[in-house]
Amino acid sequence: MEAVQAQHEDKRPKIVAFLCNWCSYAGADLAGSGRMDYPANLRVIRVPCSGRVDPLFVLKALEQGADAVLVSGCHPGDCHYAKGNYYARRRLTALLELLEFTGVPPHKYRFEWVSASEGKEFAQVIREMVEALNAAEQKAAMAHV
């Protein structure tokens, strides 16, 4: 059991996060300004708009070994570019179906709308993702013991 724990310590999950500049990136900033503590597993890539997120980015990240991918943009209707997040939503819904279809487990990707005032929510999303990843990993490890 201890061995499993230690191993798990070293191979911390890595989450690649695409955050839109105007809402989610600002939300993540707010989580920091509010000194909310959340796991450091995140690697943030700033994009102007969730509409910039090519589904290939998500697939590439997963393929190269990211433990999970987060895409986060403005809430529907709040897009800085009017309709960019609407396209993102359409595109990512299709991607979601594809991922589901190809059997990628659901804890490995998440799409979330986070506004510039939702620092708390942002931190919570990251916590939840890391928890889910750890739980999955632990389960897998136990299966091997």
């Binding site: 070293d10 911390r12 890595k14 690649v16 990136y25 600002a26 993540a28 900033d29 707010l30 989580a31 920091g32 300004s33 000194r35 909310m36 503590d37 959340y38 796991p39 450091a40 995140l42 690697r43 943030v44 890539i45 700033r46 994009v47 102007p48 708009c49 509409g51 910039r52 997120v53 090519d54 589904p55 980015f57 590439k60 990240a61 190269q64 070994g65 990211a66 800085h80 570019y81 009017a82 309709k83 960019g84 396209y87 993102a88 595109r91 931190a123």
Partner: protein, 672 residues
């Protein structure tokens, strides 16, 4: 090979407390392409910036990465700093290790590792950065205002006063809009004409304003600062400059006998074929309505031409198209009043004595069809009991609009007050759901109607109106009493909903601006940019954005005018630098990007391949219109559409770095 310099900030202890900056700097220094890495206590301070500039020179840096706070705070600072030292500002990248690292991770080791990895990602990204320039766009310092209601009038006057030439285009023969139709205005009850007419005259007299009535904008091309509009001047059949407005012509026009309904009087009176909509019209020059004119229909008449003392009537006049250039456009096309005929339960237009609020305005107006004497349309008798029904077509998702029309609570109170003022013995009942009176002195106005004028308010909707004898039985309810209420009325006034102008859709398409779910023109941001449109350079004023009363319409018009004046005060504009572009070689011409660009910044064009010598269809981004959202780049399957600063290869390398870099090893001194 790039020469990248990395500058890591302590932010006092804000960063340094949780991130071991020295270890990070050491590790970063070993990254490929990094030729210089250093740290400082306050990077944004003057000595900090000085240090960056010096290092740039010393190490011949061609890229700068500052690892500090959020780019939302200091990106501009460091871009300006690099720019002073001669580097293109778009070769500067920031990496956020404060808000998104030291402040949100308690564990120093983990925070240090993350800081290192995020910097490595930023370095990877910076490698591909290219120098970008903002285009300097000339500004055509003239404004176009579409719609000559109170909003358009106000906007035109304000822009003109700021010193810029304005062309005001109005569809009907005179400016004035809805306000010209009113008798008195809430909440002050001052005479509408008394406050509007002087403004109309000012418009006509202003040296900076060119008035184009009986005209419409047919086409708008170009972009902010550089629009080109096609304006159709409809054939007026009267030479504008010569006409004296004497009225000889319309006095004698035999077409009067055809009972042509007057649009201005909401159909309550008739007009001639040659007419001005109302006596105070600006310009006070008639037009010939060719559809009804006997000369145009039968070839025989010409009475007006014979009567006209100056001979300015010209039956041969043709429509004229003007093409003019503008730097900015204000849209102020106003609103319409819903046709309440869909309400079969209120008679569906069958009963002459069920009228709309707009018709009531005309019946009360001193220059209206009855000279301000309120009578029922059916028999011209004075009504003794008048019932007002609010929210007809508003707050009704079944047959009308879901929204509240905003002005009808107030104008109904105005109508009832004016009625009681004119005929103290008349009874006035108002059926309402809620009273929405949120302006300055509005609630007081409602209270006065009830308390001082004896208007009776009944809280409920009306379900049925039907005639009995020569009266109308109005069956409603009072939900406060919990009972049905029946009133025998002589006249019923429906506060019919306000709605988008007929043709708003065509106007929106012609201008390339958005409409909301109800058909009103969309603002750029509901709170922060209420008079702007997402299409830069186009502004919206008055009730075409959403229903407004006069104070709000005027406020929005002045706000739009201020925006326009600000824009036209510049001698050039700077375009967005981080914009999309399409590589014509790679482009397959699928036009997916054209379809989805939220700003219509991409166009289809043909391109001749200089090597293969073939012509093909490709997409082309107008860099002056593109806002840099990157939606096109994500949609393009060929990788032809790319967004500067966020190119595919940049993002892919950031991803790869994020996944493959092992911070623990790097910080321990192992080279990658």
């Amino acid at each position: 090979m790039a020469r990248i310099g990395v500058f890591v900030c302590h932010c006092g202890t804000n960063i340094a407390k949780n991130v071991d900056v020295s270890r990070v700097v050491a590790a970063v220094g070993r990254l490929p392409n990094v030729v210089h890495a250093t740290e400082y206590k306050y990077m944004c301070s003057e000595p900090g910036q000085q240090m960056i500039r010096q290092a740039m020179e010393e190490h011949k840096l061609d890229r700068v990465v500052v690892a500090a706070c959020s780019p939302h705070l200091h990106e501009r600072t460091f871009r300006a700093c690099a720019s002073q030292a001669g580097l293109n500002p778009y070769l500067v990248e920031m990496c956020n290790i404060r808000e998104q690292c030291s402040w949100c991770h308690k564990d120093p080791e983990r925070a240090t590792q993350r800081a290192y990895e995020q910097i490595a990602m930023t370095v990877a990204k910076a490698y591909y950065d290219q120098p970008l320039t903002q285009n300097r766009l000339p500004v055509e310092r003239r404004a176009l205002v579409i719609g000559g209601g109170i909003a358009g009038i106000q906007a035109a006057l304000d822009i003109a006063d700021a010193g810029h030439p304005v062309v005001l285009v109005e569809r009907s023969p005179s400016i004035g809009g809805r306000m010209a139709q009113f008798d008195k205005t809430f909440p002050t009850l001052d005479c509408s004409a008394c406050i509007l007419t002087p403004k109309m005259v000012d418009v006509a007299a202003h040296p900076n304003i060119t008035l184009r009535t009986y005209a419409e904008v047919e086409e708008l091309n170009g972009f902010v600062g550089n629009f080109e509009a096609k304006i159709r001047l409809k054939a007026r059949s009267v030479r504008l400059e010569e006409c004296k407005g004497c009225g000889e012509c319309w006095e004698r026009c035999p077409a009067k006998r055809q009972n042509i309904p007057s649009e201005f009087d909401a159909g309550l009176s008739t007009r001639a074929a040659i007419y001005t909509p109302f006596p105070q019209a600006v310009p006070n020059v008639p037009v010939i309505d060719r559809e009804h004119c006997l000369y145009f229909q039968t070839g025989k008449c010409g009475v007006c031409a014979k009567r006209c003392p100056v001979g300015c009537i010209d039956f041969e006049m043709q429509d004229e198209i003007l093409t003019e250039r503008f730097g900015a456009v204000v849209v102020a096309t106003g609103f319409d009043v819903m046709d309440p005929r869909v309400y079969g339960e209120y008679g569906g237009g069958q009963y002459a004595n069920v009228i709309t609020g707009l018709e009531f305005e005309r019946l009360m107006n001193a220059s209206g069809p009855t000279g301000g004497h309120l009578v029922r349309p059916s028999d011209h008798k004075e009504p003794k009991t008048v019932v007002f029904v609010q929210c007809v077509g508003s707050r009704d998702q079944d047959k009308g609009h879901e929204y509240c029309s905003r002005v009808c609570c107030m104008y109904t109170a105005k109508h009832a007050t004016l009625l009681k003022d004119k005929m103290p013995d008349a009874e006035a009942y108002v059926f309402y759901i809620d009273i929405r009176a949120t302006g300055k002195n509005y609630e007081e106005f409602i209270l006065r109607a009830q308390r001082d004028y004896g208007v009776r308010y009944l809280r409920g909707r009306v379900s049925r109106i039907y005639p009995e004898g020569d009266r109308l039985i109005v069956r409603g309810a009072d939900s406060l009493a919990g009972e049905q209420i029946e009133v025998a009325a002589d006249l019923v006034v429906l506060a019919a909903a306000a709605e988008p102008r007929a043709g708003a859709r065509e106007v929106a398409q012609m201008l390339g601006i958005g409409q909301d779910k109800d058909g009103f023109f969309s603002e750029a941001h509901p709170k922060l940019r209420p008079v702007e449109n997402l299409t830069a350079g186009i502004f919206i004023a008055g009730a075409c954005q959403f229903i407004k009363d006069i104070p709000d319409a005027v406020a929005s018009a002045s706000a739009a005018a201020a925006k326009v004046a600000g824009l036209l005060a510049k001698d050039h504009l700077l375009s967005e630098a981080q914009v999309a572009s399409v590589d014509p070689v790679a482009c397959r011409g699928c036009l997916q990007c054209v379809r989805i660009c939220p700003f219509s910044a991409i166009e289809e064009t043909t391109w001749k391949d200089p090597i293969e010598r073939i012509e093909k269809r490709v997409a082309q981004v107008n860099a002056n219109v593109c806002m840099g959202c990157g939606t096109c780049a994500a949609a393009c399957f060929s990788g032809a559409a790319q967004l500067a600063g966020f190119r595919d290869e940049q993002v892919f390398d950031e991803i790869a770095t994020a996944v493959f870099v092992d911070a623990a090893a790097a910080l321990a001194g192992e080279s990658e």
